[in-house]
Subunit: 336 residues, 2 copies
């Protein structure tokens, strides 16, 4: 039975900093007819990612900005209510790109089916078997081309991507040093996840010197989710021919002023560094391969991960801002 109305979080104006209730709003509207090759999906979970903040701005990026009045773009999971695509039927569990809405109308090719025999709940496909697991998987194995014996420096090590990434690198035989913002986070990644070391960047003093002590043989691969001073400190510790996987820059997302690139930019040349701008969407055709390997590691109990699920459609905005306060504890999602 197709519901008559849906509720949506929409963008009212472009945020100057951390998004507020003046920037986004909840509206109720009729559910439109489902066009050919589209799906109507009853959403079960939304993914809350730093990247969404970028799409709220009008800086040119890898996806167009969210239009004013349009739903907040996000990856979502849910169940097909109505299918006008030959590839899906009502009742299929799916995940893909749409928005913060109770019901989404979306092109069928934006969505993938959750295998019928999958033992995993919907939200796994927004976390460990979605971008959270696949981002570090391809970022390290393809973009970063990691090798056993190397040293990996992982920023935002207790974050969703960083914590999985460090574990993948440990499975692959690297020395892994993390950066995180509290002693509790550092303790979690070293004691629970098996990182070799983790620095609390808020209390370690001179970060560049602290990284040097923790990485006595230098850094071969830096996985950057953060940018800013963290990137600058990392650059001064890179080995010759090192790789920077440039995956994100959360330190700059809420700035309304132009943010400069790293002050230690020269080190990219001086150390023959390769910087790889890295987008998980470039690996779409290889998602199956990544999910198969991650499933195997999950079933062998080799990966630990945390999900932070906030209950209730109405709480999307306050949940979202936990990201910028560093207060989420694991991959952040909303249960609709």
């Amino acid at each position: 039975m197709k519901p008559a109305n849906k509720r949506s979080w929409v963008l009212k104006q472009r945020p100057a900093s951390v998004p507020t209730r003046a920037d986004v709003d909840i509206i109720e509207s009729p559910v439109p007819e489902t066009p050919d090759n589209h799906l109507l999906i009853a959403t079960s979970y939304f993914s809350l990612d730093p990247a969404i903040r970028g799409w709220m701005s009008d800086t040119p990026s890898y996806l167009p900005p969210i239009g004013l009045g349009e739903p907040i773009r996000a990856t979502v999971a849910g169940t097909v209510v109505e299918s006008r695509s030959p590839d899906f039927t009502a009742g299929d569990r799916v995940y893909g790109m749409s928005g913060w809405e109770t019901l989404c109308t979306a092109p069928a090719d934006y969505f993938s089916k959750i295998p019928e025999d999958s033992p995993f709940p919907d939200h796994y496909y927004l976390s460990i078997l979605g971008a959270v697991g696949l981002t570090p998987y391809f970022g390290l194995l393809s973009a970063g081309d990691i090798k056993s014996g190397q040293t990996l420096l992982m920023s935002a090590a207790a974050g969703a991507v960083g914590s999985i990434g460090g574990q993948i690198a440990k499975i692959k035989g690297l020395r892994v040093v993390g950066l995180a913002g509290s002693d509790e986070k550092c303790q979690w990644v070293t004691e629970e996840l098996g990182f070799d070391d983790c620095l609390n960047y808020k209390t370690c003093g001179d970060l560049e010197a602290a990284i040097r002590r923790a990485c006595p043989e230098g850094v071969d691969v830096f996985f950057d989710n953060v940018g800013g001073e963290t990137l600058d400190a990392a650059l001064m510790n890179l080995n010759k021919d090192a790789t920077v996987v440039f995956c994100g820059s959360i330190s700059s997302y809420n700035s309304s002023e132009p943010v400069p690139g790293p002050y230690n930019w020269w080190q990219v040349l001086a150390r023959s560094v390769t910087v790889k701008g890295y987008l998980i969407s470039d690996y779409l055709t290889r998602f199956g391969e990544g999910q198969a390997q991650l499933t195997q590691w999950l079933q062998a109990d080799q990966l630990t991960f945390k999900e932070h699920i906030v209950d209730g459609f109405d709480h999307c905005l306050e949940a979202y801002n936990l990201l910028f306060e560093g207060k989420n504890n694991g991959k952040l999602m909303v249960k609709v």
Copy 2:
């Protein structure tokens, strides 16, 4: 006959900006005994390169800073006066890394022999058959991995490296657009060297928009000798999966303040760009291959290049600063 004394340009203090006579000085000193595995070389030409300015500072780089009181480091050409190496004999013509001195005592393995049958004068081995030709050769063919049909944007297009690089890219079938600082330079690279277009960055107005007009299909490879605003304008015109060959950053060499990286740093991620920090010294073992190809192109009259040779050891400093005034006209060298 071994001379008793030599003259040397030495570093007195680290320059705050463009080097002045307060920073460097000429001294006369006795020629030391030549140690085992070293050469004493009577220099014929010095190479004057932007990189020297970096070595005058104490910023960590790919070579240690020039020590205070030490000769200004440079590539030089000359003739062996005394050899204590089995690989060289007095009278050999050579080129390699030493300093601005009338006579250099240097490890033999810092030098290469000019082939006895070479029809080319010494200074060719500091220009087209030295770093000036080899830098764009490996920078484009290896680091940049250029392909026929791509668009190359070349900064400092009328400079020594840029002008050769653009011609190599034309031989390889690319569309080549240059950036230069005067209409005369632009005219030279388009009319004499065969670049498809060249923008005068001083008069073109909005550089980002001008590049967009000149590269309607976007930029696949940006060869960066300049950094700063030029790099920022280039980043906004890169195609997805483009490459930036980071070869130099002359816009920042004389700054005494920390210089930020590109403000459009985010575009590296948003466009899945690869930035390659590029040092010609990483290709030392392949110099023979590069020289053979460049010689073939020279003999087939496919490469045009300019040398700007200043006469007289005493004029090194004023000659050097022509680089920062943009007043050199071709590869800058001093004839001793």
